[in-house]
């Protein structure tokens, strides 16, 4: 997404740069800890590796590290207190999580923070992420280079309420490169070195021409930086997903270049003659029309899976971000918009030729049907890849196309399940495998992403079983009939998001978001148009 790069590069860079408001300093009362010793008691643990849930366990955290995971009993038998780990003295805390579920924090590998005018304050986005259980985001990018590195450092030292930030950037970004362009492989290498020096973690790539792509990736890999690519339609004819994998790309994001790597009867996509890439309905409409240009289970399909596997290629699909394409009314009316979507963000989503991802100019039954078909084929590929041992990871790209920060990430979990992943495979994708996509290029073992002694304490606690229903992770909760009262209720919603050993009340974070939304609504001039006909009562 957000790859109006061309447009952005030409028209809006100043705007994007100048108008992103960093999160305010973390106030007292926002998050508790870290503690000398924190014990989460009696919880059922989903460890993120694919192992089945196990419990009751007591999980001991010291400062920001998990130091002990102790099985303290079996279901239906009272726990013997004598066998439980002791809290000790000092700055300690206990959380009674009996009957609750704990899993690693979600790692969202494809995010942007927003910006003026749609979501000017990073606090809004950060809190939506944290409230929906996300403890690490990979910005591709979160914002302008210097700004994002500053926010990353502030998050690392817990000066702000925010997930960990991994900072990926597009080649050519950065103050010192303002007036330069990458014209040669040498320029490409120079920029990568520059970025590394600045503290950038990795590269967000487009579909560059082969020699530039090669130079960027060679340099990134030799410096231990990661890379992900949105292989835009504008360049995919000379750089598809397989080409990029062979050049050493860590992983692809979205679907761009995937179908193009296994066309049965084409090389370049047979675009309609009036195709114009800058008409976003064309652009996104034509994506879906690839669904029957490949043969699931065919020779090219299987060969591609095999080669991706051999190259340790990560696939970060972000299915959620295009989901409105198969049912735009559903996405527009989603439960969370009323309460948690800023009016400015809602405005941005509304059909417009200028806003990226607002391509509902004339989005018909046929367009939606094409997207439904496209998803079926795409999902099958992802599931086949997972079944062969490939790593499919979590990404959302929210802030466009009616997808809201945090909520879109949970929707991705649901869509992975739809693709055929068992919920445990989904959780593994969202935690351990996503952590691996971060650490693999660094040639380091993961530091979080699994509930294991020695790893960083990034985890979430929810009072419902997410394996039974991923909807319980939405901030708006899941609808469940209460048989005592005969009335449906909302249950779930993440209760605690623990990042770096600090315990955040996820529902309080959501309240903060709600207040921000209400504030903007109140401050808007009365005659401001709010959305087509949504946010109506």
């Amino acid at each position: 997404m957000k790859h109006l790069i061309i447009i952005i590069a030409l028209i809006v860079p100043v705007l994007v740069k100048a108008q992103m408001i960093g999160a305010p300093d973390r106030k007292s009362g926002e998050g508790e800890g870290p503690f000398d010793r924190l014990i989460i008691r009696g919880v059922t643990m989903i460890d993120g590796t694919g192992g089945p849930p196990t419990g009751p366990v007591d999980i001991v955290v010291e400062k920001n590290k998990i130091v002990d995971i102790k099985t303290v009993g079996v279901p239906h038998i009272p726990i013997d207190p004598a066998k439980r780990p002791q809290l000790g003295k000092g700055n300690t805390k206990e959380i009674d999580a009996t009957g609750k579920y704990l899993m690693p924090g979600l790692i969202d590998l494809h995010v942007h923070t927003g910006g003026v005018p749609k979501a000017p304050e990073a606090e809004y986005t950060y809190k939506l992420w944290m409230a929906n259980g996300i403890t690490t985001v990979r910005g591709v990018p979160t914002g302008e280079l210097e700004w994002s590195l500053n926010e990353k450092a502030r998050s690392a030292s817990n000066k702000i309420v925010a997930p960990r930030i991994i900072s990926f950037h597009r080649p050519g970004s950065g103050e010192e490169w303002k007036n330069r362009k990458i014209l040669t492989p040498a320029d490409a290498k120079e920029w990568v070195q520059y970025a590394k020096k600045k503290g950038v973690d990795g590269l967000k790539l487009g579909s560059y021409r082969p020699e530039i792509m090669k130079a960027l990736l060679d340099e990134a890999n030799s410096l231990g930086m990661g890379s992900t690519a949105h292989l835009a339609q504008s360049g995919v004819a000379q750089m598809n997903a397989l080409d990029a994998a062979r050049l050493g790309l860590t992983g692809m994001t979205h679907f761009y270049g995937l179908f193009e790597s296994m066309y049965e009867n084409h090389d370049v996509q047979p675009w309609p003659v009036d195709m114009n890439y800058n008409d976003e309905q064309h652009r996104f409409g034509m994506v879906a029309r690839q669904w029957d240009m490949v043969v699931p289970g065919g020779e090219k399909w299987n060969a591609l899976l095999e080669e991706f596997l051999k190259l340790d290629y990560f696939i970060n699909p972000t299915m959620t971000i295009y989901s409105a394409g198969r049912d735009v009314m559903a996405a527009r009316n989603a439960d969370w918009h009323k309460k948690y979507t800023l009016p400015t963000q809602m405005d941005f989503y509304e059909p417009s030729r200028l806003s990226h991802g607002a391509y509902w100019f004339d989005w018909t039954t046929e367009d939606e049907v094409a997207w439904k078909k496209f998803y079926q084929v795409w999902m099958r590929f992802l599931n086949d890849y997972k079944n062969r041992g490939g790593k499919v990871t979590l990404g959302s790209d929210s802030g466009f196309i009616y997808q809201l920060y945090g909520f879109g990430t949970v929707l991705e979990l649901e869509m992975l399940q739809e693709a055929g992943f068992h919920p445990l495979e989904v959780v593994r994708a969202a935690t351990m495998h996503s952590a691996e996509e971060i650490f693999y290029p660094l040639k380091k073992p993961i530091e979080y992403g699994v509930i294991r002694e020695g790893l960083i304490a990034d985890m979430i606690i929810v009072d419902e079983n997410p394996l039974q229903n991923f909807k319980v992770l939405y901030g708006t909760g899941a609808v469940k009939l209460n048989d005592q009262t005969g009335k449906p209720e909302r249950v779930g919603g993440v209760e605690y998001t623990i990042k770096d050993g600090i315990v955040y009340d996820a529902k309080a974070l959501l309240k903060d978001v709600e207040n921000m939304v209400n504030k903007q609504k109140a401050e808007r001039p009365a005659d401001t148009k709010v959305s087509i006909d949504q946010n109506k009562e």
């Binding site: 049912d327 100019f361 018909t364 039954t365």
Partner: protein
Amino acid sequence: MRTILTLALCSIVLLVSAQQVKPAPDRKAGEGEGPFNRMVIRGATLIDGTGAPAYGPVDIVIEKNKIKEIVGVGTPMVPIDPKDRPAKGDKEIDASGSYVMPGFVNIHVHVGDVPKAPEAEYAYKLWMGHGITTIRGVPAGELDWVESEKKRSAENKIVAPRIVNFQVPGSGAASGWKGGSVHTPAKAREWVAWANSKGVDGIKIFNLDPEVMAAAIDECRKRNMGSVAHLAQLMVGRVNARDAAEMGLHNLTHFYGLFESLYRDEDIQHWPRNMNYNNEQERFTQVAYQWDKIHPRGSEQWNDLIDTFLKHKFILDPTMTAYLAGRDVMRERTADWQSKYVLPSLAEFYTPNRLNHGSYFYNWTTWEEVAWKNFYRVWMSFLNDYKNAGGRVTVSDDASFIYNLYGVGVIEEMELLQEAGFHPLEVIRGATLHAAEAIFEPKGKPIEFGIVRPDLLADLVIVDENPIENLKVLYGTGFPRLNDETGKVERVGGVKYTIKDGIIYDAKQLLKDVEGMVEKQKNGN
């Protein structure tokens, strides 16, 4: 739907008969114009319902309630020569740039219930507002009540689609049936004969013993009555869709019995051990879990079933729309039309509740939705294969359960058929010609409506957008489209006129009336 037949028979029958849905009020002055001695619809593009491509401009001449002639009056982009046009009528409709189709024939409906939708006017106007000119009640309500409404509609005393009256064997106690429940072939024949004498057009089967069902169908066929079955899970172990087709059943509605005809490794569905049919979440969840239990698409068994259906001229009336919330309940719950057109009493009925039929979202998780997505995929592929083999698949809504609204559901069903692989022209044929055949074939008569052709009844829909390009333009809520002049989104489309029996109804006004009823109930409570 409405399979709580067991329940219905045991407990709700009293309730239903004690609190009849209020019949529609007499048609007021200003509600509908015509019929006219001569009416001409000018310059329209015609989708005739047969599957033929759209063509126009045409002038359509209607005399009283019949289509008199359809005259091609030019070609696109060239001004029409007035000399070649049919003579002026008492009423003229300028339909240049608009599309004309046959009125839609909705062959699976219920009119309502007290308290959820207590007035027939509400459902009728939602239907007419969405271009539906004929409904087949399965049943629409109590026998005599329906006969009365059917007659009033036929005489155009009320604003309502034509009504075809199907009833459940054994029902009708309030209408004079004294024979009790139907448990023997003889009783079945007796009931059918009685129903026939009352004017009933056909039977709706939920759950009958095989020999009783066979007798009922046979008696129907002798008397030129139709038959449709919802093969409830309680009986499907004995009669599946193949058995039913071989028995002579005319139409299968929903999916019940279809998957069961194709099981790979089981005969009776291998229910989970704690299955209880009266727990509706289990009941509807288990439907979806059939998706991978069958002989796959294209297998010998799959193709053989299609052949069997074809041989028996079996019509499939899937009502996919009825179950749509199962694959995305939030979508249906928040759909655009809910706030404007759904009565508070109906909204309340939809809300998860163990007592209300179809309100089974007690704990409806990602699992259930994924299972239903898979189920739809397989079900749709069967429907598409059947259509491609020459089978007929019709359109209907079965509304007022499961967040599904009258009229709107028909349009959703059309979208779902397109998703299944039907070209919009095939979809429209399913909603018009084929559905009309479902009504007239059992009668042994040629169709009287369902396509736009001289001598047929003037049941038509006019819309100012092209439904082939986008079926969404048929929704009463319209279709949001960007206007590049203003840069703003506008809602376009929505049926403009629904013509039934030569009488022109302003479809938007009908929907306004519905909106008024919703408002009134909101303010009243």
